[in-house]
Symmetry: C2
Subunit: 349 residues, 2 copies
């Protein structure tokens, strides 16, 4: 493989000149530059990234740490991260399925010297200490952290307010027996949604009852399983709020199998507004979360951190959410009138 030295020799210049041509910051004689380009392409020269980052101590690479859970929502977040990073000439070194803190630390350590910053999506199981440890060497941006960490910018989802809005809407439709399929314990968004659900009930003068909350794990199967438990309750809940769309979809499937109609017998609401949601029968009422933007904002914060000399500018952001009323909750949204015309137009980016 050709190195900078080969190019220099072929072009009849010094390696410094070749470097200058490739980095384009220092002035180089036009003819010389042309010769260098010619030599480089003749030799099919690709600069070595490792060597470059060794000298500059910059890698133009962002580390991305993902949780063990996957699916439509996270794909979108990653897409947001990847696209903005790419546009800003950053590469992404991804490492997925991190369950434990030790895991995260190991993965990060392995990235040492190859990343300029770390975007960490870890809605649960972060300890302040481990992140703080990483933070000493690298800028860290957290997505949906369970709590704020000193010196780390972060972006979160307005889970609490979204959940409250869901309950308020259901109450407005006349529901009083509102059940919930909760997300995994320890997950911030799951817990915030549960908290929002309870608050919403209280605000409507309804006492939240634990037996109306079924534990799920954000997967379709747990939503499906939740149906059985819920249908045993007397009086039977007239509405169920699932902490995410996947569980809502599993739930609807189970309700259908049990011979119940959504929304006539039971209203169902989800959270996230994954692409599928609008194509369900009935279309799923949910809380729209712009996952793509979530990823993008994280990268934006990282870029800020990287250009911040002293790393003192810490930003804590929250992504707003909006209730998307469709028919699974039994309301008749205005949009339903032209349902035959076409699906909701989806934004392409």
């Amino acid at each position: 493989m050709a190195t900078i030295r080969d190019v220099a020799k072929t072009a009849g210049v010094s390696i410094a000149t070749v470097s200058r041509v490739f980095n384009g910051n220092t002035a180089v004689n036009e003819d010389t530059a042309l010769q260098v380009w010619a030599a480089a392409s003749a030799l099919d020269y690709w600069p070595n990234g490792a060597a470059r980052s060794l000298t500059t101590s910059r890698s133009n690479t962002l580390g991305v740490l993902l949780p063990d859970l996957f699916g439509d929502f996270f794909s979108e977040v990653i897409r947001g991260i990847d696209q903005l990073a790419k546009r800003e000439k950053y590469q992404t070194l991804v490492s997925g399925s991190h369950a434990s803190v030790e895991d995260v630390l190991t993965a990060t350590r392995a990235m040492r010297g190859r990343i300029d910053g770390l975007v960490m999506m870890a809605p649960d199981s972060i300890t302040v200490e481990s992140v703080a440890k990483i933070r000493r060497r690298l800028p860290v941006v957290l997505i949906s952290p369970p709590f704020a960490v000193d010196g780390c910018s972060s972006v979160s989802v307005a889970s609490f307010s979204g959940a409250r809005a869901v309950v308020a809407h259901l109450v407005g439709l006349g529901h009083r027996e509102i059940a919930m399929v909760a997300g995994p314990a320890g997950n911030v968004d799951a817990e915030e949604r549960l908290r929002g659900y309870r608050r919403g009930l209280l605000e409507a003068g309804i006492q939240p009852r634990d037996e109306l909350v079924v534990q799920g794990d954000f997967r379709e199967s747990s939503g499906y399983a939740a149906a059985a438990a819920l249908l045993d309750r007397r009086p039977r809940p007239t509405a169920v709020f699932a902490a995410n769309d996947c569980m809502a979809i599993g739930l609807m499937s189970a309700l259908g199998n049990a011979g119940l109609s959504v929304p006539n017998d039971v209203a169902v609401v989800g959270f996230d507004n994954i692409t599928m949601a609008q194509y369900m029968r009935p279309p799923l009422t949910t809380v729209h979360v712009d996952a793509y933007a979530l990823g993008q904002k994280a990268v934006r914060l990282m870029l800020d951190a990287l250009s911040d000399p002293e790393g003192e500018k810490v930003t804590v952001q929250t992504i707003d959410v909006v209730l998307k009323v469709r028919s699974s909750c039994g309301a008749r949204p205005a949009a339903a009138a032209n349902a035959l015309t076409g699906p909701e137009t989806s934004q392409q980016r």
Copy 2:
């Protein structure tokens, strides 16, 4: 940040010894090693990956190039890649949304020196030349390539045979007017599924007709849109085969909105068996593709290539698929009997 030199100084040994301790291949006196470990942890020393790969010319990192399309299927593939890579102590440098060949080349070039091999998922728009160019410097494994490339191992999906099986099944149920929502032109899997559909018809003595094929793009919205075109056909198709599940789901949604019942008025079959498929109402008949295994196999082939001295061992694999009969096609699968018991058990890995 502490370097190997700091550790050496603190431990009172040479840097060579520290390196030996950290790499664990050469024999080191036990006491010396202990001192080194102590010094390293006191200084919180992390070896620098860039420096390491500069000397060893190995990065223990796999480059992963993704297409512009995303969704449940691809997430699974990536999960497969990531998990096996991680288990084998490799990191993954991911770059998504590559539309053009130039794009791919640029991305790869940027990875030069930081990756040991490249896993490329590019079902369309690869030119042999560009891959060949990359191949000269790095092992390359292709996922679902449009055609075989010299010197590259690859894994593909048995799209053709899966599609044939779908048609055979529909014909077996008595359907003759079978339409198709095709995938994007240029995409191998889309084209193989279309070819399998036509072959299947021919084998049943039915002449394929172009007006029964509607162009889609693998997204839900295009499946939704296809419904309108299909419902205009006279005689109206009694069954529709969508080239993937997302489009099938969009299609079912549109059919429902048009007041048609699936499967009574129109049978629908998809492809991929994404998680959602079984939770549709009715549950979607589809062709199961083990996306996770697809990703894993690609990494396995890459590991083979990396341990292969001369890079001569090229393997071309195909992932088998299996028709998963549920109720959207109108058959009454045995499984439907216990539908009330629970969802199909999903494999966790």
